[in-house]
């Protein structure tokens, strides 16, 4: 019985992987195409599209994306971690309401958020700027940090904090030496999710970018609509490669933490 179900599971998993990753793999050969349109299979080999990625429109938007994503990860973590503490540890009226509000970006359609933020940000004169994007993405990425840190906090043994206090560490030292190291995996996961969210977020970014400040996904979107060049395939290949590297790195980091049994 187990052999049949195991085989079925294997077959299903393979199909799932092909379905998820197949379309992306098509982009890789197209990125090395000698043709100037996206066609499959490519007629010949060329690195020209990778060269074209070094032009200013791509590099400047990549830098903008990097800035926005890094700052988003930073602020979402700095705001989300204390928020998670309040929501997990605090006992105050309206706690569930605050929780729902913080998590609401995960259910409100991004189009609506984009329109609303544009309307407000224009008045604040931060529409079309890096700070504007950071503010928007921070609000939207907050749930990732709150959920991840909250989960770490809930599973943490409260006696560790009591023990720390008992041994002479005040609230700050207890947080620094005991609580933070315990919830660090959750904090890092939250920060990573926030970064990735901002890095490939396009809906809100379309509303909040200007011709001078554009993130990578917004430029890609523009290119698809105007000229369907294999540059896009080259960029997509690089980004996919980057994701794989990040994933491998995080796996290695997790392995390294093993000795302490976590």
């Amino acid at each position: 019985m187990s052999s049949i179900s195991t085989r079925l599971l294997t077959a299903f998993s393979i199909l799932l992987v092909i379905f998820l990753i197949g379309p992306m793999l098509v982009l890789v050969p197209m990125s090395f195409s000698s043709s100037s349109t996206l066609e499959f299979p490519p007629p010949g080999f060329s690195l020209q599209w990778y060269e074209k990625l070094t032009t200013q429109v791509w590099t400047s938007s990549a830098i903008t994306s990097l800035q926005v994503a890094s700052l988003t990860a930073l602020f979402a973590t700095l705001l989300g971690t204390p928020a998670a503490f309040g929501l997990v540890r605090g006992r105050f009226p309206g706690r569930n309401l605050v929780n729902a509000l913080i998590l609401s970006p995960t259910i409100v359609p991004l189009v609506i958020v984009g329109i609303a933020m544009l309307a407000v940000f224009v008045n604040l004169r931060i529409a079309g700027t890096v700070p504007g994007l950071v503010v928007a993405h921070t609000a939207l990425a907050l749930p990732f940090v709150v959920i991840n840190v909250g989960a770490s906090l809930r599973t943490m043994d409260r006696n560790l904090e009591l023990a720390s206090m008992n041994l002479g560490a005040g609230p700050l030292k207890t947080f620094r030496y005991v609580t933070l190291p315990q919830i660090l995996p959750g904090v890092l996961a939250g920060a990573l999710f926030a970064f990735i969210f901002s890095w490939d977020e396009i809906v809100v970014a379309i509303f909040l970018t200007s011709p001078f400040v554009r993130t990578l996904p917004v430029v890609m979107w523009g290119q698809v609509r105007t000229q369907v060049e294999p540059t896009l395939a080259a960029l997509a290949t690089l980004l996919a490669l980057l994701s794989v590297v990040v994933f491998l790195l995080s796996t290695v980091v997790q392995r390294r933490r093993r000795p302490d049994g976590r």
């Binding site: 009591l162 023990a163 008992n166 041994l167 002479g168 560490a169 190291p181 315990q182 302490d260 976590r262």
Partner: protein
């Protein structure tokens, strides 16, 4: 293990006073006007069933729980400081070792937050690890240590900074019996060596008897009796204590007096009460408590007769349980009460067998008189 610690914990033998200490959780009074004096260097156990307030008392001493009323004094000084300024060590039941630190880093933690100098810190940590016999495991992480080793590290960590008092909250509760007994003796040895004041919480009466200088028996938020192990066992002052500590034969009834002699009417029998007992009020409700090893079981057919200074009850042997050094008899009386007796094995007397008609008797002065306490009503479980 045999290295003599020179520094760790030495010279810290503060004495502790709890004065009318009270904790109210909503409508439940978890701790109700507790009073204890603990001398410097004394080992006092708070013993009681779960929900009796012993852990809450410990948490108030540690500073984790704010008392509703009453005060805590260490060396005559009233303590209200937050937990991290109290200089009280604590050992938790689940060890509470920091998983991201090695054993040595765990032990060094209280020194690190006190900004102890590096080389002094290293010396103290080494001594503390030697004291608990784990000098070679300093670089291990808690998960790489066994439960007993983790608890030893936790003990070293609670002692290394010379705390004024050490609190232990069922520290051996998660360990198996053999290891528990081994650690009991070791803990007691360390406590005597360092002369450090220890407050120990447990619900295991055997553990309390083995380790404590004095035991406070908790029940429903109050101390029923505070005294040395022998005192609690031989002269319990309430039915609760008699029942909770060791095994007992309890004869409830009403005290009566005739010709200056007291006796207890229980069912349709009259039991004599020792002249040395505190004279009960005429008609007072109470009980006679007789320990199993005080109860002598004789075959009814044999010509052995109870003497006038003995109480005697006829019964039948229901069960004989062989316990190695002794035999335990479970007897049934005509009123179908169960009595328990314990005899040393091998003194050569004829040993009764199941089904035998026997006479169970005891010296009158071995019957302990306890009076009914005014009922306080049951409280819901609060602790743990």
């Amino acid at each position: 293990m045999d290295a003599k610690p020179k520094e760790v914990g030495s010279g810290s033998s503060s004495h502790l006073t709890l004065r009318d200490l009270t904790k109210q959780f909503g409508s439940v009074r978890a701790v109700d006007k507790i009073n204890i004096e603990v001398k410097g260097g004394e080992f006092v156990t708070l013993l009681g069933p779960s929900g009796s307030g012993k852990t809450t008392t410990l948490q108030m001493i540690a500073g984790f729980v704010e008392p509703t009323a009453g005060e805590i004094l260490i060396d005559e000084q009233r303590i209200t400081a937050p937990a991290y300024k109290r200089d009280i060590g604590m050992v938790f039941q689940n060890y509470a070792l920091f998983p991201h630190m090695t054993a040595a880093e765990n032990v060094a933690f209280p020194l690190k937050v006190r900004r102890t100098k590096k080389d002094r810190m290293r010396q103290l940590v080494t001594e503390a690890l030697e004291m608990v016999g784990l000098a070679d495991r300093g670089n291990s992480y808690p998960k790489q240590l066994s439960g007993g080793q983790q608890q030893r590290i936790a003990l070293a960590r609670a002692l290394v900074f010379h705390p004024r008092i050490v609190l232990l909250d069922e520290p051996l509760g998660a360990l198996d019996k053999k290891l528990r007994e081994e650690l009991q003796l070791e803990l007691k040895r360390i406590q005597e060596q360092l002369q450090v004041t220890m407050i120990y919480v447990t619900h295991d009466q055997e553990e309390a008897l083995v380790m404590s200088d004095r035991i406070a028996v908790f029940n429903e938020g109050r101390i029923e009796q505070l005294g040395e192990a022998e005192e609690l066992y031989e002269r319990p002052n309430s039915l609760f204590v008699a029942d909770f500590i060791g095994e007992s034969n309890i004869f409830p009834g009403r005290f009566t007096q005739s010709n200056g002699r007291y006796s207890l009417s229980t069912g349709n029998r009259k039991l004599s009460v020792s002249e040395h007992a505190e004279p009960p009020d005429e008609g007072a409700q109470g009980a006679l408590v007789v320990r199993p090893e005080r109860l002598k079981v004789m075959n009814a057919s044999a010509d052995a007769k109870p003497t006038p200074d003995q109480n005697a009850i006829q019964a039948a042997v229901k069960e004989v349980i062989y316990l190695g050094g002794e035999r335990k008899y479970i007897l049934a009386t005509s009123d179908s009460e169960n009595l328990i007796a314990r005899h040393q094995v091998g003194i050569g007397e004829v040993e009764p067998r199941p089904g035998d008609e026997v006479i169970a008797c005891w010296q009158i002065e071995h019957g302990v008189v306890v009076f009914d306490q005014p009922s306080r009503g049951k409280q819901p479980e609060q602790e743990e």
